[in-house]
Amino acid sequence: MALLTPFSKVPELNTATVLLVENEEELQSKLANALVQYKKDFNVNVRLARKLPLPVENKETRPRIDLIVFVVNLLSERSLQSVESSLAHLHSDCFLGKVCFLVTDARCGSHTQERLVSVRKLAASHQCPVLCAEHRTVDGVNAAAVRLLNILKVSAGMSPIATTALYLSSLTRCSVTSDLEED
């Protein structure tokens, strides 16, 4: 099974690539636009996918991926299931600071709370951070893009202070507190 590995390619100069994986393909295009248009001092390439594994045909042309973001829409059960099945296609090296979860609609209704708990447990077991985003307004999308850019900068090794992705992830990883575990 072809796994997505983080270190199998050579990085490009002053460039970072982020892979947005979303089953519904709605937020990812807006987020991609916000990411490339935001004023920053390094180049950002964005790859959009529905799920993993990625098509083999693109393997040669695909640049090295520095950050993989799984976008989960908490209103849809299928979104979470698709992310769970995609996680199996990642090499374990990726989980050292190169994977991040982005959830939307975390405040709408009761089913979303249960799914949020499942996402947090999933993220905690893989040592990854969880970001909550509001995707219906332009400001919300821009705010999510800025947060992703901060994480991306560290994962691509471009942070001026010697912060590595592994160190950042150990600070930002999702932790499941005991009251959640009692549910």
């Binding site: 295009s29 959009l48 529905r50 098509p55």
Partner: protein
């Protein structure tokens, strides 16, 4: 003007928003220019109706003129009520030579021959459609102008669109149509919608069809968003293929606006969960009904966005390919487990 004409006029004027009344009256061409100018459309509706009634009495208009107004109103606003499609079959050799005057004469002659009191009005619209308004009476009572039947037919096509027809009059209308268009028989088209334009576009193929093609793909409308060179799509090919498949099955946007599709099932239950329902001899009867404000657009979006897995089942693509939205699905042969197939009822 008698009470019947006044009530019909009342009904028409009440339905239209005030700003459209003027254009309708102009098309009607029965009121003089002075009278039209004198009407004030900012008044409440009942005042406008009273004015129009008084003008009609001045001009000595009668029921015939009012029914013409009603017909013009329906021609301008065809998408109300429920329309049903019927199909003429077995065209005789001289069916293509039927002309408008010949059609009119034969149609009227037949209906006047079988029913003593009937009122038929025919009008040819500029898009080659013949509109027929029929107010049915019987051998003893006058025609009922409050519940007229409307029929639309494009000459030399095999489709007829009917609205508001009662069952007891159906046989007379069908006979008249068959004789006037020189066909063998007429059958039910299994298509009913609220919108006449959608029905006409669907059956006469006025929508943008997409044919299966090895090479060319349709350009998607969403291309503008991802044209930034730094954004790349991993599953771009799959997306295009899904879009092509969905447009082949349901037409390119905008598609004719159907509201429902109904599938009546007369098949055997074949699930493996429930022991009491499966392995029975008799059929499991059910009705599956899809409803939407624009059904074909919704189905196309489901397939194009990947929510529904392709390839599109022929049961759904038959809506647009066979031009019907009522299907009866039966098992092919009793007792043998085989695929269900859609048949004409």
């Amino acid at each position: 003007m008698d009470a019947l004409a006044t009530s019909i006029l009342n009904r028409i004027i009440r339905r239209i928003p005030n700003k459209n009344i003027e254009s309708l009256l102009k098309k009607w061409n029965c009121l003089s220019a002075d009278q039209l100018r004198a009407l004030d459309y900012t008044r409440p509706k009942w005042m406008i109706v009273e004015h129009i009634v008084s003008f009609c009495e001045e001009n000595r208009l009668n029921l015939k003129h009012i029914t013409t107004l009603e017909m013009i109103y329906h021609i301008e606003n065809p998408n109300q009520g429920t329309w049903h499609a019927c199909q003429l079959a077995e065209a005789q050799d001289d069916a293509v030579c039927v002309e408008l005057t010949q059609f009119k004469e034969q149609f009227k002659a037949h209906l006047h021959g079988v029913i003593r009191h009937i009122s038929i009005k025919m009008k040819k619209h500029e898009d080659e459609a013949i509109w027929i308004r029929i107010a049915w009476g019987d051998n003893f009572s006058k025609p009922n102008h409050l519940k007229p039947t409307y029929v639309v037919h494009h000459l030399h096509t095999s489709y007829v669109f009917i609205s508001n027809l009662m069952v007891k009059h159906k046989i007379f209308l069908c006979q008249a149509l068959v004789i006037a268009t020189k066909h063998g028989y007429i059958k039910d088209g299994h298509l009913s919608t609220r919108s006449l334009t959608a029905m006409r576009d669907l059956l006469l193929r006025h929508y943008q069809q997409v044919f299966p093609n090895e090479h060319s793909r349709i350009p998607q409308e969403r291309n503008t968003l991802s044209s930034h060179p730094c954004i790349g799509k991993e599953h771009g090919d799959h997306e295009e293929m899904r879009h092509q498949m969905s447009c082949e099955a349901f037409g390119h946007s905008p598609s004719p606006k159907l509201e429902t599709a109904v599938y009546r099932l007369e098949t055997r239950y074949r699930g493996n969960g429930n022991n009491t329902l499966s392995d029975r001899e008799e059929f499991f009867r059910g009705v599956v009904r899809f409803s939407s404000s624009s059904l074909l657009d919704s189905l196309r979006h489901c397939v194009a966005s990947g929510m529904a897995e392709g390839p599109v089942t022929p049961l759904l693509s038959a809506i647009i390919q066979r031009g019907r939205n009522y299907f009866v699905i039966t098992d092919k042969s009793p007792g043998v487990s085989s695929q269900a197939s859609a048949q004409r009822a």
